[in-house]
């Protein structure tokens, strides 16, 4: 079984690929991109929840750091959820410029967010939670999105 760091890093790449696929569809026609958008939005939301409801909670309980990195990551998740929602609205309104403007903004935010997580938070999590790694990964795998 993969470690917390490997599992969540791979999930980032999976979401990146869904993002690229969505843009690919949208560059041809916004109408056809709805399915790809829904899939990207759903899987990204799943990733956020795996962190917020499982990994962050375990990390906070173990380290006592509730106002530290996890709070910042939650804040960035909120920023990105807002952008994803606005992208959906642009898609409904068939506004291509707006859609790609938002997707570009999201991409930048998403990537620097992922980088912070992969290079720092996941490494910290792996150090503090190594003993529980298997349990936490299996909880994330079986989580049902709310």
């Amino acid at each position: 079984m993969s470690t917390i760091k490997e599992y969540l890093t791979t999930d980032h790449q999976r979401c990146d690929n869904l993002f690229a696929a969505m843009e690919d569809e949208a560059s041809a026609s916004l109408e056809n991109a709805k399915e790809a958008y829904t899939q990207f939005a759903r899987e990204t939301e799943r990733h956020y929840q795996m962190e917020e409801r499982i990994m962050f909670v375990e990390f906070e309980a173990k380290t006592g750091m509730t106002e530290g990195p996890t709070a910042m990551m939650r804040h960035e998740h909120a920023q990105m959820r807002q952008l994803i929602k606005q992208m959906g609205e642009a898609l409904e309104a068939n506004n291509k410029d707006k859609f790609f403007g938002l997707s570009e903004t999201l991409m930048m935010l998403l990537q620097q967010h992922n980088m912070k997580e992969e290079q720092m938070l996941y490494t910290m999590a792996q150090q503090h939670l190594s003993g529980d790694s298997e349990r936490i990964v299996s909880m994330m795998e079986s989580m049902i999105v709310e």
């Binding site: 690229a20 690919d24 106002e67 990195p69 709070a71 910042m72 807002q82 403007g101 620097q112 720092m120």
Partner: protein, 429 residues
């Protein structure tokens, strides 16, 4: 492990990189006018005073300004370290660097020792202060990624490039050591272009290409070894250049081969990218890859022609490779920073990145810039194209300045309005 750099309150204020970004095209415009009023016979020699002045308006005024501004911005994000007193440091060093660069251009133009002395002080304090502070922050990094290692290596090279530059400028105040100029200037320029600019770009592209374009990642060998290999190459070249000049070509071949390989991988990775979007930034990456390839070959080829083509190499690598990437990245970074800082302050209705910079203007800027570089090369054979190329270059830099001012104005305009959310709730983060 330090997470402070992640918080918007402790991230560098937007003014830290922006003041460098806003100044850079102004020096490029000055360089454009200097080219316009010069002529090809003078510019064909790298050691003519006109060539030296124009080169430094671009290398210090444009390239270093953008690279230093970006380092102060990127380090907290890429390495998780806070640069101590970043606002004060960037403000003061920016002031000294502007003063130093202006007086250097004037001092060399009018052969004025007082001006050159002021330039020495300005550039000395400005460069050493910001390089020193950034270097101190790098020593505190816990997680040394390949990108951070490349940054550290490029800081090492720029430190010596600056010392050599200060020595060269001093030789215009007191000419006792003027005889050392050609030797030192050669090391200064090769280390500056390949050691500072080249290594920094390679390191940053390990992150940026896969991230922004969802391109395939660089191979582990590339990420772990290439910066070392190039750095060793630059040292071997230094030794050979001083003691066994006849063999210096071997080290040049070594360095050029790896830069050419890098140029090829950039092209291949862009072709294999998952994001279909082809904006001006992608064009800039592509152009830089082509120019770097041509420049690397010509740098070797030039060895057999008594350095007749060295100015052309400088145009290809300094302008075509390094400037292209810097401009391309500005188009990505500036609007994002505006969005990021405004959003962090609680504003929700912010124009998107694509709405901040007019796409058409960015395209026109790209075409004029590339056309001017091609024109400068052809000016070696057809001197009459020099003036029109200089005009094209000037206009492209005026548009670039406008394209950076536009998002900056959006930032200050929105900041004057009331935020949609009160971000004080996040003040404890």
């Amino acid at each position: 492990m330090n997470f402070n750099g992640l918080s918007i309150e402790q991230a560098p204020p937007i003014s830290a990189p922006l003041r460098f970004y806003l100044t850079a095209p102004l020096f490029a415009i000055v360089a454009g006018f200097l080219i316009l009023f010069s002529d090809t016979t003078v510019l064909m020699s790298r050691y003519s005073i006109d060539s030296i002045i124009i080169t430094h308006a671009l290398t210090i005024g444009f390239l270093s300004f953008i690279m230093l501004g970006s380092l102060s911005q990127m380090l907290p994000v890429l390495a998780g370290v806070v640069i101590p007193k970043v606002d004060l440091v960037t403000k003061v060093s920016h002031g000294f660097l502007v003063l130093g660069t202006v007086f250097m251009l004037l001092g060399l133009s009018y052969d004025n020792s007082q001006f050159n002395t002021i330039a020495l002080i300005g550039l000395g304090i400005g460069f050493l202060m910001i390089i020193g502070v950034i270097f101190l922050s790098v020593t505190r990094v816990k997680n040394f990624t390949p990108t951070v290692k490349a940054m550290a290596a490029s800081l090492f090279f720029v430190f010596f490039v600056v010392l050599m530059g200060l020595f060269l400028l001093y030789s215009y105040v007191d000419d006792t050591y003027a005889y050392l100029r050609p030797l030192i200037a050669n090391i200064h320029s090769v280390w500056g272009i390949f050691g500072f600019g080249g290594i920094l770009i390679i390191g940053v592209s390990f992150q940026v290409l896969p991230m922004f374009y969802v391109a395939p990642k660089f191979k582990q060998f590339c990420k772990k070894k290439v910066v070392w290999i190039i750095s060793i190459g630059l040292f071997v070249w230094l030794g050979l250049n001083i003691f066994y000049d006849v063999y210096a070509l071997l080290a040049k071949l070594w360095i050029a081969t790896f830069f050419w390989a890098f140029a090829t991988s950039v092209w291949k990775k862009l072709s294999a990218r998952r994001r279909p979007i082809s904006d001006t930034t992608v064009w800039y990456w592509r152009a830089s890859s082509v120019f770097l390839t041509l420049g690397s070959f010509l740098w070797i080829f030039d060895e057999y022609f008594k350095n007749e083509y060295i100015v052309m190499v400088a145009i290809l690598i300094g302008g075509g490779f390094i400037m292209s990437i810097m401009i391309g990245m500005l188009y990505k970074v500036v609007p994002f920073l505006v969005w990021f800082h405004l959003n962090g302050m609680g504003y929700m209705n912010i124009p998107t990145i694509n709405e901040m910079i007019n796409k058409k203007l960015a395209r026109i800027q790209f075409v004029l810039f590339i056309a001017s570089l091609v024109g400068f090369i052809f000016a070696f054979y057809y001197p009459m194209v020099l003036k029109i190329s200089a005009i094209s270059f000037i206009i492209s830099m005026i548009i670039l300045e406008y394209n950076i001012i536009a998002p900056a104005l959006i930032y200050s305009k929105i900041k004057k309005t009331k935020p949609d959310f009160d971000m004080n709730t996040f003040a404890t983060i």
